[in-house]
């Protein structure tokens, strides 16, 4: 198991959220949308030039900005 940020993950790769290194405000926002430590996430795509990242969490697809994506640390195989 290694730890990478959501940005470093490859497309179509799965990972388990290890921690969210952000302030409580953003942590709560992620939390309410279903991104919390232990949750499995699949990365769908990543736009070039520091663009947004699309992920699949549970049954929903979320798009998040590059900076936000860098704050989500996951454990991958």
């Amino acid at each position: 198991m290694k730890k990478v940020s959501l940005i470093q993950m490859k497309e179509k790769q799965k990972g388990r959220v290890f921690e969210i290194s952000a302030g409580t405000g953003l942590q709560n926002r992620f939390m309410s949308m279903g991104i919390y430590p232990g949750k499995e996430i699949t990365k769908l795509s990543h736009f070039a030039l520091r663009g947004p990242v699309a992920i699949k969490v549970g049954r929903s697809i979320l798009a998040l900005g590059h900076g936000m994506a860098g704050k989500i640390i996951l454990e991958v195989e």
Binding site: M31, S32, G34, Y36, G38, G51, P52, R59, A63, G65
Partner: protein
């Protein structure tokens, strides 16, 4: 005694559709998170009682992240808990994520009824939910509904009164999710199915290359369809009605009035070559209805029809994701494209939709850009009508100039305004294919809204122009502004008044240019100026309400500066 019923839930679960079903009040609903930014209320009869129902903007939790969410949470907490009932609308296809807010509501002690919406969608997504068990585990009434078709609404109304607060300890976030995990395990069964074509399409649309290709095709097709439908309606429906049926009646009226005099001038206007000219006569019964019904209304219909399809299918959030990078350069993020697109219909709902953006800085930038660089349908329709005669090249040119101005002002604002812009975080909804009846309902709602707002002001605008012409008051105004309008912009000084009328209605303003026989270049400059300079009075009022006086003045100064610079540059720079 129950005083109010609140509809709350995650964004894009169909609260507004449930609301319409409960109260009969028609509201705009779409397939993207954040359609509802205003609080709407209506009434529901339960037995003898008439209770107010309030539709709140969607929120993921009781800790709000945008102005729209703030309004929702604030209102919810304003009333004593024993005087309200909360209907928590839940997307059944995404039960787990939705239950987070439900648990929060229960922990806060609200009396809650859960309405599991979009139940028809669960089956072919391979989900089955044990409603009875869920009801037991949550301790509140759980009612499956499909608000679009109306299934389950009757049962929901019958059981609303069963809502009661249930005792629940306050949990930490992690514990809450653990709890939800256990509930889901007990009530939800998933059957594995093959990836459907729709899901493959959904995945492709969030990838850079395939997504971009799909977006270009969709936008190009949308634009073509809007133009095609608009022209079809004008040429085959509205123009024939005006010329074949309405004109003969007016000719008789004109003759009866003696072809001149005050009343004739007021109702019919000037005769052009002895005949009524709908485009130039400027009478209350001639030009006013012609502009509204035969030049603008067809495009209102075609634009909103296409927009409704894009909204309901779920295309807009995907577009937002594709444009996130570009919009970051303007101090905004991807979601800001949705208010911009709404602004192409009418700037007012566009600016209202900026409430979904998180910071005031973003809302200021987005609102200013909408009022400067985004022409509304009435203005666009008139530009098509006037400039289009000379060729599509010029029409495209207007859009290109506006886009450049929009981009430039955005970049400048982003560089000069203090503060930063938050990042993009948006749920991308699944593609949905709404029934035609729902699309038409929404179209009718919007067309009605347009007619109610536009017709009186257009009549007033034409009346004003008509009177000013009759009493020859234009000369004075024209004289004062001649140095700017004629000197800088190269327009005849008579067009001053048209630019001024733009403050009331853009369509009437362009209409006023028609009798002036401008050449292509002048028409081009006037069209751009009408878009950039002052938005109409309705937009001003919304800007004031949304931004406050200080920011409104700032925005206005930017508009004036932009108008002066662009008008002069175009006059000096282009040679057609």
């Amino acid at each position: 005694m129950i005083k109010k019923i609140f509809l709350i839930g995650n964004p894009n679960v169909g609260k507004s559709v449930v609301f319409s079903r409960l109260t009969g009040v028609q509201v705009i609903s779409s397939n993207y998170p954040g359609t509802t930014v205003e609080v709407t209320s209506g009434y529901l009869n339960i037995g003898e009682e008439k209770i107010e129902v309030v539709d709140l903007p969607g929120t993921y939790s009781l800790e709000p992240a945008s102005k729209a969410e703030e309004a929702a949470v604030f209102l919810l907490k304003e009333y004593p808990k024993d005087e309200i009932i909360v209907i928590n609308t839940i997307d059944s296809t995404n039960l787990e994520r939705n239950l987070y807010l439900t648990l929060q509501l229960l922990e806060e002690g609200f009396p809650v009824v859960a309405c599991l919406n979009m139940c028809d969608d669960t089956q072919h997504r391979g989900i089955s939910i044990d409603m009875e068990n869920l009801e037991k585990l949550l301790g509140i009434p759980v009612i499956p509904t499909c608000a679009i078709t109306g299934v389950g609404i009757k049962l929901l109304i019958e059981r609303i009164k069963e809502a009661k607060p249930c005792v629940r300890n306050k949990f930490s976030h992690e514990q809450r999710w653990q709890d939800i995990g256990q509930i889901i395990e007990k009530v939800q069964r998933l059957t594995h199915r093959h990836h459907t074509f729709r899901e493959a399409l959904e995945d492709a649309s969030v990838r850079p290359v395939s997504g971009m290709i799909m977006a270009i095709v969709v936008i190009f097709a949308s634009f073509k369809i809007v133009r095609f439908l608009g022209e079809l309606l004008i040429n085959k429906v509205f123009d024939p009605l005006f010329f074949n049926f309405y004109q003969p009646i007016l000719e008789k009226l004109s003759a009866a009035l003696g072809s001149q005099g005050f009343l004739h001038h007021l109702l019919i206007g000037e005769l052009i070559n002895g005949k009524i000219d709908f485009r130039q006569s400027m009478g209350l019964l001639t030009t006013a209805p012609y502009i509204e019904f035969s030049m603008v209304l067809p495009y209102i219909i075609s634009f909103y029809l296409v927009l409704s399809v894009l909204e309901d299918v779920g295309f807009l959030p995907r577009l937002a994701m594709l444009l996130d990078n570009l919009l970051h350069k303007l101090g905004l993020h991807g979601f800001a494209i949705i208010p911009m697109l709404l602004g192409f219909g009418c700037n007012v709902p566009g600016i209202l939709a900026t409430r979904i953006l998180e910071s005031k800085r973003e809302r200021f930038i987005a609102s200013t850009l909408i009022s400067i660089g985004v022409p509304c349908v009435p203005l666009q329709a008139m530009i098509f009508g006037l400039l289009g005669q000379f060729g599509g090249f010029y029409v495209a040119g207007v859009y290109l100039v506006l886009f450049a101005v929009w981009l430039l002002i955005g970049v400048i604002l982003n560089r000069t305004l203090k503060g930063y812009s938050p990042e993009f975080l948006l749920e991308i909804p699944p593609y949905r294919f709404p029934p035609l009846s729902i699309l038409l309902q929404k179209l009718i709602l919007r067309v009605k809204g347009f007619l109610i707002e536009a017709v009186p002001i257009v009549l007033l605008g034409v009346l004003l122009v008509n009177m000013l012409l009759y009493f020859r008051l234009f000369d004075m105004v024209n004289y004062i502004f001649a140095p700017v309008v004629n000197g800088l912009f190269g327009l005849p000084k008579e067009s001053t008044i048209a630019l001024t009328i733009g403050f009331f209605r853009k369509d009437v303003a362009v209409g006023m240019l028609m009798p002036l026989a401008l050449n292509v270049k002048q028409l081009f400059i006037a069209s751009v100026l009408l878009a950039i300079s002052f938005p109409c009075v309705a937009t001003f009022v919304v800007l004031l309400k949304e931004l406050g006086l200080r920011y409104l003045i700032k925005a206005t100064l930017i508009m004036i500066a932009a108008g002066l610079v662009v008008g002069t540059l175009l006059n000096l720079g282009i040679m057609f």
